[in-house]
């Protein structure tokens, strides 16, 4: 049965109401799918329920997701971050704002090792935040830099949201998407550092340099450089193995997880308890993610049968301003959704609708995917619902109210928007590296 635009809007409204009432996302998506089957299809459509679950569970590219999650969960506990921070402290604490910039750099390095944003935010929140506070850093900058730095992990490859996004278009290769994220990720990190530098230049008291007599000796500085060895090994294991043609992106994820376990072993940080906890945490996350993806697959099927894609495509083509208007509308909608829901929900809801439209409009899907990711970055920081806000809230002292964390995020959301606009206007920042891979 063909659906009208109005019917689709009503359906979406029902879904949003169900979601805001606190029902977990997968059940809200799945419940909406079943309602839609009843209204717009016929009982034969219910087979899409078991199809959705099965095809999600056996999706071979999804194998990378639990591997990246496990890698991050183990890395959090290896003490690599402590060593990196000590090194950065030795080298950069003498500079005004140096510790904040160091945090950005460490987050970027963590981003190159993990597929998500949690590991960097949590570890930096535990290590860098107290250290910056002790040195008299402005709390808003200190927290903001950890919030924004953590999300670099989804832009800088590898990236779990990219793995999921790539599933919604046959023309996007996960590997290419990974490499497309390198320059925008570094760009974000540079923008954060410039911001810190400028703020410090204007008001030196915000992020004071430590006094000369407290600065570490050259000997200490050089010795601490060994901290980069473990991250270097891990980055070679994951990105290097893809780049050198040793492994497919899926296999690289497995290598990364395996190497992080081996490194934890060598550093004598791997107890049975830690392995147990890391595995349990990974299973909890992957269990949740797979059920969201399965429910989203069901809803997606019904929307396709309803002809929603065609409907929206026609609507998009009729818009004045063409492709640009469509892109702007998509980005605005994603920003709003990103305030309300988590990254997986945003991707699974919008990507299957956006990507065919983008291809129909003749926009480069690789470029679009990265713009999509840069937008998604903000979702981790925008209240009321932002993963990194929650991560940070869970580790700061109890007397820090959540509103102070929100306020710390705002300037960095603006900086992320700046990065998005730069990449929008200079597409080569995204497409150059993947086109040069030989």
């Amino acid at each position: 049965m063909e659906a009208s635009l109005g019917a689709v809007l009503v359906l979406m409204l029902v879904m949003m109401i169900v979601m805001t009432s606190g029902l977990p996302v997968p059940f809200a998506l799945g419940g909406t799918a079943i309602l839609a089957v009843l209204v717009f299809w016929d009982p034969s459509g219910f087979i899409s329920v078991s199809n959705g679950v099965w095809s999600t569970f056996i999706g071979d590219s999804y194998v990378a997701i639990p591997m990246f999650l496990l890698m991050a969960n183990i890395l959090e506990r290896t003490g690599i971050a402590d060593d990196l921070y000590e090194m950065m402290y030795n080298w950069m604490s003498g500079i005004r704002g140096g510790l904040a910039m160091a945090t950005v750099v460490i987050c970027a390095i963590f981003g190159a090792m993990c597929g998500g944003s949690g590991a960097a935010t949590v570890t930096m929140g535990l290590i860098a935040l107290p250290s910056m506070k002790k040195r008299g850093y402005d709390e808003k900058i200190a927290m903001g830099v950890i919030l924004a730095g953590g999300v670099l992990g989804i832009i800088i490859p590898p990236s779990i949201p990219m793995v999921i996004l790539s599933q919604y278009s046959r023309s996007i290769s996960v590997g290419k998407l990974f490499f497309a994220g390198v320059i925008p990720g570094i760009l974000c990190a540079i923008i954060y550092c410039i911001y810190i530098g400028v703020r410090c230049a204007i008001n030196p008291n915000l992020c004071p340099a430590i006094p000369k007599e407290e600065r570490p000796s050259w000997n200490e500085k050089v010795k601490s450089l060994s901290a980069v060895i473990a991250p270097a090994i891990l980055i070679v294991a994951v990105l290097g193995s893809i780049y050198m043609g040793l492994a497919t992106p899926v296999e690289a994820a497995g290598l990364g997880a395996g190497c992080s376990i081996i490194i934890a072993l060598l550093r004598r940080k791997l107890t049975i308890k830690i392995l147990n906890e890391s595995l349990a945490k990974t299973l909890k996350l992957i269990g949740m993610i797979l059920w969201i993806l399965a429910a989203a697959a069901m809803l997606n099927t019904v929307l396709n049968v309803m002809g929603v894609n065609k409907l929206l495509q026609d609507a998009a083509m009729a818009l004045p301003g063409g492709a640009n208007t469509v892109m702007i509308l998509m980005m605005l909608l994603n920003f709003v959704l990103g305030c309300l829901m988590d990254d997986y929900a945003v991707i699974t809801l919008t990507a299957p609708i956006y990507l065919p439209l983008i291809e129909a409009l003749g926009i480069d899907p690789l470029w679009f995917s990265l713009i999509f990711m840069l937008n998604l970055q903000m979702a981790y920081l925008t209240p009321p619902y932002g993963f990194n806000l929650f991560f940070l809230k869970s580790i700061v002292p109890k007397d820090v109210p959540v509103t102070r964390i929100y306020k710390a995020a705002i300037p960095f959301i603006a900086l992320q928007l700046v990065a998005l606009l730069i990449c929008w206007n200079f597409p080569t920042l995204i497409t150059w590296l993947p086109s040069k891979l030989i």
Partner: protein
């Protein structure tokens, strides 16, 4: 009545926890398979014929087992825009209301997955790979996993009814 529901909640929670504790080790199987595959192919020019299949089967188990395990530990993401601001009791009322949607959804998930499982055995569906692993087993895991998730939902419903009646948090067996 209280006693029955309490022992139901405890058994379901224990079951979800136990199966999850076993199931999480399949992650290590995946790590091993993927590493082995790369090493075997690149250094010994002898790729396995089983690594991809093993990972596929592990993913099926992770999804089947992980659902209930994750829900037990309240890890299923929700949009808590309003939800967070509500009192314990109001939240319980809301959860009890939305349970209807959960129930309809899980009913469809369980029944269609069981149908798919029977079909898989009936016409002997296998993986399209050299290993030809019968998909009936995987489909069985998914069907059982769906039941576990449904049971976990009922367990959470009972906990919410407890909250509604006594206006106090349910004494959880497992905490995050």
């Amino acid at each position: 009545m209280d006693k029955i529901s309490k022992s139901f909640v405890n058994s379901v929670d224990r079951l979800s926890h136990l199966i999850g504790e076993i199931g999480k080790w399949f992650l290590m199987v995946m790590v091993f398979s993927l590493m082995f595959e790369v090493i075997a192919r690149y250094f010994f020019k002898a790729p396995t014929i089983w690594a991809a299949d093993v990972c596929e089967q592990c993913m099926i188990l992770l999804g089947s087992i992980g659902g209930a395990y994750s829900y037990l530990y309240d890890q299923f993401v929700r949009i808590d825009l309003l939800y967070e601001k509500l009192s314990l009791r109001r939240r319980a009322i809301l959860d009890i209301c939305t349970f209807v949607i959960f129930a309809i959804f899980m009913y469809m998930v369980v029944t269609t997955n069981f149908e798919a499982m029977f079909t898989a055995y009936e016409i002997n569906i296998t993986s399209p790979t050299i290993m030809r692993i019968p998909y009936g087993y995987g489909r069985t895991a998914v069907a059982i996993g769906s039941v576990l998730l449904a049971l976990q939902g009922i367990s959470i419903l009972i906990k919410n009814i407890h909250v509604l009646r006594y206006n106090e948090p349910y004494p959880q067996l497992y905490h995050n």
